[in-house]
Symmetry: none
Subunit: 158 residues, 4 copies
């Protein structure tokens, strides 16, 4: 069984390009930078948050939960990041359109559950291309959004 | 095969500390006390309810359903307790912020479904540390909340 | 709103039979007896378990988790009890038929996930009628089953 | 509305102990140490993996995905970590008991899906108490397990 897996892996490595990172996808280094920048910002603001980073494919790339932050914010932070990338939008802006009577009322029910209040933002590279997204949960919506903005911008320093 | 499991279990017991209960986690004795206090309170008030207790990790610790109480309240009671621990809050207070136009509108769609009307409360120990949560469902929201308050406070008598 | 609910409740009470417990359904008193008997038996055997009781409708009736027992056993204990009532069978006996090549291979995939190894048993009243089920998880399969047997029989003492 | 949340948060902070981290729960600092140790080990071994850390309550604490590692390994790594904590066990050891004919065949169907091959391990502190778990996915099962071992032990250096 292991031989099968091994030969599979060898052939994959030999094929070279297969593992190539999408050119416009956030890297592990960038994701860690965003994560730690958000953590630093949250500590400066004295807020306890959960921090989630997704890649260009809206898949989880990095995550950290500060001690004693809300357990319920694990899922909220991840859903904020996914929502921001699903629709390339500030989650708070999306929420303005999902209220009763809004043009996309209850879109929260799609994609396994969206979060449409502030704290989720697309992450853009120096060329203004969206390469992923960040979601923050645990503080007030204003605090969450401020941390997300600072963290998303931090990769421009790399 | 059974010998394997047996030796595994023996080795776990010999390792001593492995099974240690978290210092700030509700105990079985406390959970039973909360459960029976809620039951007594509900009987005094002549209300039929479901009673759920979760631990500090928001995992189910104890549960009882009174005869002829709503079947649909099984899940509501459990979700109320989980919600109260997820965000360390009275579920009714959370609900004030999740209404249309509210700052965290539709957060109910996270964490596999939240319940954000009264009846869920964090459980605190004598040092005011949250060690779990309780959720009551089956009566009016005022009744559910009154039962939750009485039950959560009952562990201070232990 | 509360008046509506109140009048609803009053009308339900006046209708009498509506809240009547199924004649062959486990009562809250019986469920608590089963729960505490299982707990006592587990303590005598020095095993840490999760204990779940379902009613005749396979709905959760009572639950308790002993301190430091497996977190993963919450769901396993509940699924054992549900499985035992779904098919009115000792879960271990069901497992003999679900192995590869067995007549009901992989039935575990139904009903949101079954558990088909020992520890789940129907609960019968004095007239030999099934009124619910019990599920035990946390010890060896032999220990879990022994606790389930002792607990299921305890209601005959009431 | 924001004032409500603000006053709520202020009152929570004033209550002091409320945000206390459980004494036997992995800290953010420890989780980051485990994450980065796993990353370093994987780079040394030239393997691309997903790394997940859960806390004592089996809730996600930290996560990182190396560039070009399998997308499918996000969920596998998280489930390995959860499984290791759910049953306080090396996931590979659990898998020996879940095979056809095994004593706990098909337990994988519980808890929303378990992963029972190597790569998940409990994380213990210096006193041998389990404080969380790690899950690695992306390499061979031997590689995943070797990375998990190295990372779990790294917190003893703190």
């Amino acid at each position: 069984m292991n031989k099968l897996l091994l030969s599979l892996i060898v052939s994959i490595f030999l094929s070279g390009e297969l593992y190539a990172q999408n050119a416009y996808d956030i890297t592990e280094e960038e994701a860690l930078k965003v994560l730690l920048s958000a953590k630093t910002k949250a500590e400066e603001m004295d807020v306890l948050v959960n921090i989630a980073v997704t890649d260009a494919g809206a898949n989880l790339k990095a995550f950290i939960r500060m001690d004693a932050s809300y357990l319920g914010s694990i899922d909220v932070a991840i859903k904020k990041a996914k929502t921001a990338r699903y629709f390339n939008i500030d989650t708070g802006k999306l929420g303005e359109m999902t209220q009763p009577g809004g043009i996309i009322y209850n879109i929260e029910l799609s994609n396994g559950g969206l979060i449409t209040f502030p704290g989720g933002l697309p992450i853009k590279n120096k060329d203004n291309v969206i390469i992923g997204a960040i979601g923050i949960s645990g503080g007030t919506i204003e605090q969450d959004r401020a941390i997300a903005i600072a963290a998303a911008q931090s990769i421009l320093e790399l």
